[in-house]
Symmetry: C2
DNA sequence: AAACTATTCAATATATTTGTTGAATAGTAT
DNA sequence: ATACTATTCAACAAATATATTGAATAGTTT
């Protein structure tokens, strides 16, 4: 094998794995799986895909060894093969947000049109935690909260927020977080809370980002 | 714009930028451009591509805003648009090396067949630097050395190594580095030096990795 | 074994990506 | 202006990726 052939093969393999990520639905699936494992049916529902279609995309990810499966009864649960998959997704996400103005504009417009746009980054949250009292709420579905969440966060799924917001303090600041920067649960939560007179802000990033930074988490 | 439409557009944009990376030649171009700027002609030569073809791939990268151009006379020099591009490439590279056994095998086989396989990571090099004397040589072409190199490294392009190895100490350990883990200049250097009785090892990663870690560099 | 369920497979049509070729363009030197 | 050079463009053929549909499979329950 000569130098050129070697390079062609190495870069060929790397392009193969990159191609397996290079599709809108598959990127959305990766971000979802960063929250834990989901069945094909659940993945299809969350991403608004027909089941056969979701399955096909999952096969592509499986072939690239980016996801692992785990059969339980009739259901097959998919999960990310390991932490490097989320790291690669995060690198692409940050590259995209920084380079492609369209993305920032989309996010900004969407948030401003529906909700009051405001957010705090993980770094900002850490500062606020040091300097005063903050209530952190996790508005993802309970199962995702149980699989891992920011230490001391309270689980209030977005679907239950209206009834349960009475549990929250009116005076101290509330930070809502969800799956990641493109997840809108936290935006919806902030809109509901602020309308009801609470002082709420969304966390820009999601739980997987917090976890990757080695910050304190809890399970169950 | 509803939630689904928002997601489709955001993930669509992210997939677009990911697709622009998802090609063997374009990945090789990215790694090359991580060393500095190159003209279309130089890029075509380094990657064994016809010029029109290289230009076409460069257009794709330019459209995705991953590279910038800089005209000088008849020549157009391309460079990475910013540090996040290399970070994304690095994340993909590490994902690939870890997940795809084929890549590790390719690298190992190639090195073992031609050269004695052995390498040290950046971390290992840092330890050796602390505990004793090490000579670091940069075997990339001079222009790349001048644009930036590991602090205190000596420039001996691979093409000049045979004549110039007399400059090197026989006793102390020599670490050779080049563009990155898939660049073979350092392997060739190690083979030449060991055959001549020197004690040489290649650095696994390349200069851009060292630089990204914030370790000491020098220019010119 | 039969009925059932979640998932995968297979086949096809459509859209996108890639390589190749030769012509066109933008800037430089004469 | 003319000739020259590096790069890009345009057009086409071949290869690859995607969505859609309905059938097949693997495991569970009755």
């Amino acid at each position: 094998m000569n130098k050129r052939e070697f390079k062609d093969r190495v870069y060929g393999e790397l392009a193969r794995i990159t191609k397996s990520l290079a599709n809108p639905h598959r990127l959305e699936i990766i971000e979802l799986l960063a929250q834990g494992d989901f069945s094909v049916e659940q993945i299809a529902e969350q991403t608004s895909l027909p089941i056969a279609n979701a399955s096909q995309h999952l096969q592509v990810l499986k072939q690239a060894q980016l996801v692992d499966i785990n059969r339980q009864g009739n259901f097959i649960y998919y999960k990310l093969a390991n932490g490097n998959v989320f790291k690669a997704w995060k690198a692409l996400r940050e590259l995209g947000v920084e380079r492609i103005a369209t993305i920032e504009k989309l996010v900004k417009d969407f948030r401003q049109s529906k909700f009051k746009f405001e957010s705090v980054t993980i770094e900002g949250l850490l500062q606020r935690l040091e300097s005063g009292k903050v209530t952190i709420i996790d508005v993802r579905p309970t199962t995702e909260f149980n699989r891992g969440h920011i230490a001391n966060a309270i689980s209030i799924p977005i679907s239950e927020l209206k009834e349960r917001m009475i549990e929250l303090p009116k005076r101290t600041e509330i930070i809502a977080y969800c799956r990641g920067p493109f997840c809108v649960y936290a935006d919806e939560a902030v809109a509901i809370l602020n309308k009801a007179g609470y002082k709420a802000t969304r966390l820009e990033e999601g739980f997987p980002d917090w976890s990757l930074m080695g910050l304190p988490i809890e399970m169950n």
